[in-house]
Assembly symmetry: C2
Homo-oligomer: 286 residues x 2
């Protein structure tokens, strides 16, 4: 079984079949138990105990998030004028409860998409939310646009018992993590893994295996976690992409995961699938 | 190792690092061995032997597809006014050579994206190809837009040795195939598999496993092929999505894959990852 990254899980019942039925959605918005997600600084607001904050509904919010048992859950589109402070959002993740994370991911990812898709890419006309906020429709050319989830491969490359991890320039000091990159049109998951590892670190790989996936709402990605076997360990680092990349032993990874002060690097946070991949890797070597 | 679906494979060397260097791309376009892809009726043109048709370069084409060893490969954006005849494109796939398929997928997927993304989704202004055609830039708000690969889950659900396959309304007579659906923002691959199977067929699943992936350029998807174990076999079919769904035994699947006249259904074509998944399944049961 794949391990469960943060943000993974069932979340709300999305009740997709209701989205095409505006009358049904209006009736749900008028339901006594219907609530709307509260937003703060461009992200879902949290209670002090790390739960999503919900409030009474005014009017009919643009986004129908789904059902929490029988209780309808909605959200207004957050104020697009609020600049997104990604650093503040990452701080939120240290407080967000695991069982609330899937709904947080869905709401923020959807909101992020709406923020950048107010106009029709086919003809340039302003569009409006449709299907309970799960698409936008163009009143001019009739195109319907659906929220994207951009597939990203993220991978542990292993050679002779050691893992390749890298540092992106924006990482906190000492942090190393799994290399990653967007899947391009015309690629398989395996081809994207091979291309990214060769581009960023100059290594060739075989036997790419899928481990787990994770929705990542910054802004709206699908992280596809994999493990690949490197054919050699000689690195050619693309310094436009990475500050550094190095091979780490299992003991070094264990030390980093344990947060030891003498650890050779700082492990990624619990919200990152890279950490899940590292935990899964050391676990499999027991 | 995952099996290799049609369209999978390395294709051209995408030489991504050159995309940000317009001078390098111009020099490649002027190379003696540089060629541009020929298009016909909105799709890459094929020679009689199923190879992609290339022609001499006039000017500098918008799309830099990559390198075939040292030979630069480009494409002009095909005429957006040509209506896309998907049926004709599927007929092309019966002629397209397997080793040419990855480049066909990349070029058509990229062209399909440009066709529907001439305007900035953030502000509505007309955009222009950038980075050798691997993005479009907005001259007004500065947004850069990257071609999408929409993740789609496609799955074999198994119960007691039988597989669930379904018929979409547009399928040829007798065709049954794996159920499929888009991954939504906020979902893992596994959650999308569970949601789609419950929505379309009313079944619950566990133990979803990744099998293989495939780029699918109609218009621009990443097919993520999986296998899941159904908890029960009682079906509740969503007739808005499916004409029918049924359970098939291994012998029935083998008969369909062999194209026997007495087969209980017509198997998906060799270009579809659904066929790869079926072949992988019967193979694993040997």
């Amino acid at each position: 079984m794949p391990p469960d990254p943060f943000f993974a899980g069932p979340g709300l019942d999305r009740a997709d079949h209701l989205r095409a039925n505006p009358a049904a959605i209006s009736a749900l918005a008028a339901h006594a138990e219907a609530r709307a997600l509260a937003w703060d600084n461009g992200a879902p607001a949290l209670d002090p105990d790390g739960r999503l904050a919900w409030q009474a509904i005014e009017g009919e919010p643009e986004l129908f998030l789904g059902l929490d048992r029988d209780a309808p859950r909605f959200s207004a589109l957050p104020d697009g004028a609020v600049p997104i402070d990604a650093r503040a959002h990452f701080t939120l993740l240290t407080m967000l409860r695991t069982d609330e994370a899937p709904t947080f991911a869905a709401a923020l990812s959807l909101a992020n998409w709406h923020r950048r898709h107010g106009f029709c890419s086919v003809c340039g006309t302003g569009t409006a939310p449709n299907r309970g906020g799960w698409s936008r429709a163009c009143p001019s050319c009739g195109a319907e646009h659906y929220p994207r989830a951009d597939p990203v491969v993220i991978m542990l490359a292993e050679h002779d018992g050691r893992l390749l991890l890298g540092r992106q320039p924006h990482y906190p000091p000492g942090r190393y993590s799994a290399l990653a990159g967007f899947v391009e049109p015309g690629e398989t998951i395996e081809a994207a893994v091979a291309r990214e590892l060769f581009e960023e670190a100059g290594i060739e790989v075989r036997d790419t295996r899928y481990i787990a996936s994770q929705p990542w709402p910054f802004p709206s990605s699908l992280m596809i976690g994999t493990h690949a076997t490197a054919i050699g360990d000689s690195l050619t680092i693309d310094h436009n992409e990475l500050d550094d990349a190095r091979w780490f032993t299992r003991d070094e990874v264990l030390s980093a995961l344990a947060g030891e002060s003498a650890a050779p690097f700082q492990a990624p946070p619990h919200s990152a699938i890279a950490r899940t991949l590292l935990e899964h890797w050391v676990d499999g070597l027991k």
